[in-house]
Amino acid sequence: MTSVLVVDDDPDVCDLVTYKLEQSGFDVRRASDGDAALREVAKKVPDLVLLDVMMPGVSGLEVLERWRSDETTAGMPVIMLTAKAQENDVERGFELGADDYVIKPFSPRELVRRVTAVLSRRQSV
């Protein structure tokens, strides 16, 4: 089963994303901040990460930077979750190696499509 790590400090967003992804057949793990995300990935590298940009403590961009500088996680697909007001962070996310981004508020159906698309793109490379 394809595993996805959802990283967001907002439990409502985590609930929505987790529910929709589980409904689509993914195995979902959750982390509520950057430190927890780093720990989860250190335990087991997921097939894809949905990563919120703005979080207390270590930000999503910092987390992404650390993953990209580590050879075990450098190729791990990451989709950034960002609020409309933080669209400038998208550019920075792509510079750091994000595979795609989703702007909140989001369409759950579109989110699943993006996850599937990024995973199949990675598999075909």
Binding site: V13, L16, P105, S107, P108, R109
Partner: protein, 367 residues
């Protein structure tokens, strides 16, 4: 024997103090226990309702228990539905809005917008913006223009921006003409929140009143609405400096070279300095070296922002602009300082070391 009654009084006071402390302690403990009980009950209610609401978000049929839930369960269902509604768009938002309509929540919120208490009207307006149904939108439009409380009007303006409705754009723009309108920044944010849905209304209002045209021009520029450029150019020739400056700034943001002629004409010395400063800034954003000569002529302008913006614009042009700035920087006029600043900023942005400013010859030593 005066000490005896005094000691009795002291004992009375100490006893009363101790009793009061015990009462306060018991009260605090009781309040905490009550809060923990309520919080636990609320958590249990949410735990029960959450899977049902999540199923609705995914397009599942809302169970009767969710539609008819009242009391603590009903409140929990609504809290969850509104929390999710703030995070989703598209069909998921439609499913949740439909659930709230079927529960009678929307009707209740519409009634609350008539409450004599402003905070209730504001709270209802905020939630109606999330529901974004035609009825909600209609009532929000009435609040934006008609509520007597300015804070309710502000909340309703923001809420209307969240509806994503094309009609809302014109309502928001027209609200600028009412006495004591909502601050322009709030209206602009709401229009930007509407995004592409606002564009038809914004373009139509480029032919509207002065305030509407100025706001529409600014927001169209921020939305990068390239097809609006002709309407913006028409407004550069308007009779109002506010409208002209907004149109010029928007054309700068769009960055289309087609706008160079009308924008450069705004640099004319006979024009208002605010318009000329906006035009210099816009020409920098367009970045076409054909306007370099007109901008170089502004470097010695007595109005600070005209000369400053002209220098910064020239720095955007590369070779032609840098040549004009280098020439001005070597001079002694007021434009030299602007030119040196622009060259230094350009160097820093490129990761280079700025050239040291030329030292003026010490007085008394001759040339």
């Amino acid at each position: 024997m005066p000490a005896f009654p005094a000691a009795g009084f002291l004992l009375d006071v100490t006893g009363a103090g101790a009793a009061l402390a015990v009462i306060l302690l018991l009260g605090t403990v009781a309040a905490r226990v009550l809060r923990a009980l309520l919080s636990g009950r609320r958590a249990r209610a949410e735990q029960m309702m959450r899977p049902m609401v999540l199923a609705v978000v995914s397009g599942g049929t809302a169970p009767a228990a969710l539609i008819s839930a009242r009391g603590g369960l009903g409140r929990a269902a609504e809290r969850i539905a509104f929390a999710y509604l703030a995070q989703v768009r598209g069909e998921a938002a439609v499913f949740l809005a439909d659930l709230l309509a079927r529960r009678g929540t929307m009707g209740r919120l519409l009634r609350l917008t008539h409450s004599p208490r402003a905070h209730r009207r504001a709270r209802a307006a905020e939630r109606l913006g999330l529901i974004a149904s035609p009825e909600a939108e209609h009532r929000l439009a009435e609040l934006v223009t008609g509520d007597h409380n300015p804070e309710v009007r502000i909340v309703a303006t923001r809420a209307l921006g969240k509806t994503g409705s094309a009609v809302a754009a014109r309502t928001l723009l027209h609200s600028l003409s009412r006495p004591a309108p909502v601050p322009e920044g709030v209206v602009a944010s709401a229009l930007l929140e509407l995004g592409p849905e606002a564009v038809p209304g914004l373009r139509a209002e480029l032919a509207g009143g002065r305030r509407q045209r100025a706001m529409a021009a600014n927001v169209l520029g921020l939305l990068d609405e390239l097809p609006a450029w002709e309407g913006l150019v028409e407004n550069v020739g308007s009779g109002s400096v506010e409208v002209r400056a907004s149109a010029v700034r928007a054309l700068g943001r769009l960055g289309l070279p087609q706008a160079i002629g009308p924008v450069t004409a705004c640099l004319d010395a006979g024009e208002d300095p605010a318009l000329r400063a906006a035009a210099a800034y816009a020409l920098g954003r367009i970045g076409d070296p054909r306007s370099a000569q007109s901008l170089a002529a502004c470097l010695e302008d007595p109005h600070y922002w005209v000369a400053h913006n002209a220098a910064m614009a020239l720095a955007e042009f590369g070779g032609t602009g840098v040549s004009a700035l280098s020439l001005a920087a070597a001079g002694l006029g007021s434009g030299a300082a602007h030119a040196r600043e622009a060259l230094a900023r350009r160097a820093l942005a490129r990761g280079e070391r700025p050239a040291a400013p030329a030292r003026a010859a010490p007085s008394g030593q001759g040339e």
